[in-house]
């Protein structure tokens, strides 16, 4: 029987939502290949939300528990997943901070190739075919995974989590002995308590058109009015020290796929467009009607952002019944 292994993620003892996307992707491969889905859950105790894994297609849920696994333990996680992957045809991870760190370690241990940040998976001739953005999304590569197991990390927000109820039989997975070469000592709160641009469903980004760092308050206000929104930035303003590099959208920053991306005072350099072109809806606000950002925007307003943005914030508040 073809066995597909999905690696789930938890934070603070709660299953991360992205894990359901990984399980769904594994389920679809299993259905196409005539196989089963095992999900491995790694933690220091019970993981809340892991009961959902069956609903999204897990035949079996393997739980690996170790006192050192409250926080990420790279060497221990790698040893555990490598053991669980024995005999698997495919192993899938989320392309998150943890998955991106863990998957290469497991691939090296198993001596198999790894396709990272995959946005689509298919099965052709019994082989897994992965589609993945390269050159920061300026091109797409189609890659055939010939290794055993075939391994991939899946970019969050690109493969939908869909329900496909299975038994989800619970089993304990023994944790193999491992040498803890790296120790994660703590997870600190970020400097700002704001949402991460890579995860937020709405991103409001500012560029050089904002003229000075203090003016980002206008974007913070718009993001607050929209709710569930993060404030992003172009490379120019990050390089100028106006915003933290964690907020940078583009080829040397983050690639984002929110439902709504609002580009304010951003001309749309090719490296910026590469980072946000997969957003569902793009709004551009810019003084220059010929700015390249308008070529990718669904909706544009030409004019002075210092008049447009406060008005937009007011209108959104009105819509939300707060104005």
């Amino acid at each position: 029987m073809t066995r597909i292994l999905a690696v789930a993620e938890q934070r603070d003892g709660a299953l991360r939502k992205v894990s359901l996307e990984v399980v769904s992707a594994a389920r679809r491969l299993a259905d196409a290949m005539g196989g089963t889905v095992d999900v491995v859950v790694i933690g220091s105790g019970p993981v809340s939300g892991s009961d959902q894994l069956a609903r999204f297609g897990a035949d079996k849920v393997l739980t690996a528990t170790h006192p050192d696994f409250a926080l990420y333990q790279p060497d221990g996680y790698a040893a555990t997943v490598a053991a669980a992957a024995q005999g698997a045809a495919v192993v899938l991870f989320a392309a998150t901070a943890t998955g991106r760190d863990l998957a290469p370690r497991v691939a090296a241990r198993l001596g198999t190739g790894l396709a990272t940040d995959v946005t689509a998976l298919a099965v052709e001739g019994g082989k897994v075919i992965a589609t993945r953005p390269v050159y920061a999304g300026k091109a797409l590569a189609r890659v055939r995974l010939d290794g055993t197991p075939a391994m991939a990390t899946i970019r969050p927000n690109t493969i939908a989590a869909t329900e496909s109820p299975k038994a989800g039989t619970a089993e304990n997975l023994p944790v193999p002995a491992f040498a803890a070469r790296v120790k994660v000592t703590q997870v600190k709160a970020p400097a700002t308590a704001a949402l991460d641009v890579a995860e937020a469903p709405i991103v409001v980004s500012g560029g050089r058109g904002m003229k000075e760092p203090a003016h980002f308050a206008l974007l913070e206000a718009l993001a607050a009015a929209l709710g569930n929104a993060a404030v992003g930035a172009s490379r120019a303003v990050v390089d100028a020290g106006w915003r933290d590099h964690g907020a940078q959208v583009g080829q040397t920053g983050k690639t984002v796929s929110p439902n709504l991306y609002v580009a304010v005072g951003i001309s749309g350099a090719i490296q910026h467009l590469a980072g946000m072109r997969t957003a569902k809806t793009i709004v551009a606000i810019n003084r220059d009607k010929d700015a390249p950002i308008f070529k990718v925007a669904d909706y544009g307003i030409v004019g002075d952002l210092f008049e447009i943005v406060p008005r937009l914030t007011a209108e959104v508040k009105k819509l939300r019944g707060e104005g």
């Binding site: 000592t185 970020p190 544009g300 030409v302």
Partner: protein
């Protein structure tokens, strides 16, 4: 302190990507190639750490074609002591690249092996941790803050909604993120000196690997959008469209 920095030659991030006739590579005509931007943070960190230690050696290693000698000369011009080109055709399997690098690094007696967190061409972000596994060394990826003292290191990396703090002892492998430092520009003196620094060329053959690139394509164009209007007066119409047509607010 002995530090190795592994580099890649990549197209400049401002380059427009045109797919070549073979459908599997990019047309390099008119494309400017640079040191992978994340690798510049690795170079800078290596130079800073060696300066702080007051002694040691920095070595830049690059796997690539002959043109990658230019990439290595840039690192030498920034201040790296010597360079090694592992001369090879490009491969599509990061593990094969990691194996070739690990073979070169093994026995090099390095205290630190630094990489960029990813290469902006293939976006693989995997070779650094794979090398660490092959050499059985501690590895921390996407490091944005680092302190090294008394043979131990503490590193911070950004995770979703937080900063993960890790410790390890040397020797170790790190991959470097933006924010770690501000890479220096090569000085004129550095550029002149780089011409005389040793650059060793070693041909290597990559294994076939287990990933087969079937083809490259350009992403689908977005459907044409509309200019809703000019100035703040266009805002109510925009809000209506976002609400009723796009259904995103």
């Amino acid at each position: 302190m002995r530090i190795a920095v592994c580099l890649k030659r990549v197209p400049d991030t401002t380059a427009r990507i045109v797919i070549a006739a073979d459908g599997k590579s990019i047309d390099e005509t008119g494309v400017k190639f640079v040191v992978n931007p994340y690798d510049e943070y690795a170079i800078e960190e290596a130079l800073k750490l060696k300066e702080a230690a007051g002694a040691g050696e920095t070595v830049a290693i690059c796997l690539g074609g002959d043109a990658a000698q230019e990439t290595l000369r840039t690192a030498l011009a920034m201040g790296v002591d010597r360079a090694v080109l592992l001369q090879s055709a490009a491969g599509s399997d990061g593990l094969e690249v990691a194996r070739a690098l690990a073979a070169e690094l093994k026995g090099g007696n390095f205290d630190l092996i630094l990489f960029g967190k990813l290469a902006v061409d293939d976006y693989n972000h995997q070779v650094g941790p794979m090398v660490a596994e092959l050499l059985e060394l501690p590895c921390i990826t996407s490091v944005a803050h680092l302190t090294v003292a008394n043979g131990a290191l503490e590193a911070e990396r950004e995770i979703e909604g937080g900063i993960e703090v890790s410790t390890a002892s040397l020797p170790a492998v790190l991959t470097c993120d933006k924010g770690l430092n501000s890479p220096r520009l090569p000085s004129l003196k550095g550029i002149m000196a780089a011409k005389k620094k040793p650059l060793e060329v070693k041909p290597v053959t990559l294994g076939a690997g287990s990933l087969t690139l079937l083809g490259l394509s350009l992403p689908p164009d977005r459907k044409p959008g509309q200019i809703v209007g000019e100035g703040a007066d266009a805002v109510p119409a925009l809000v209506k469209l976002l609400r009723e047509e796009a259904k995103v607010i």
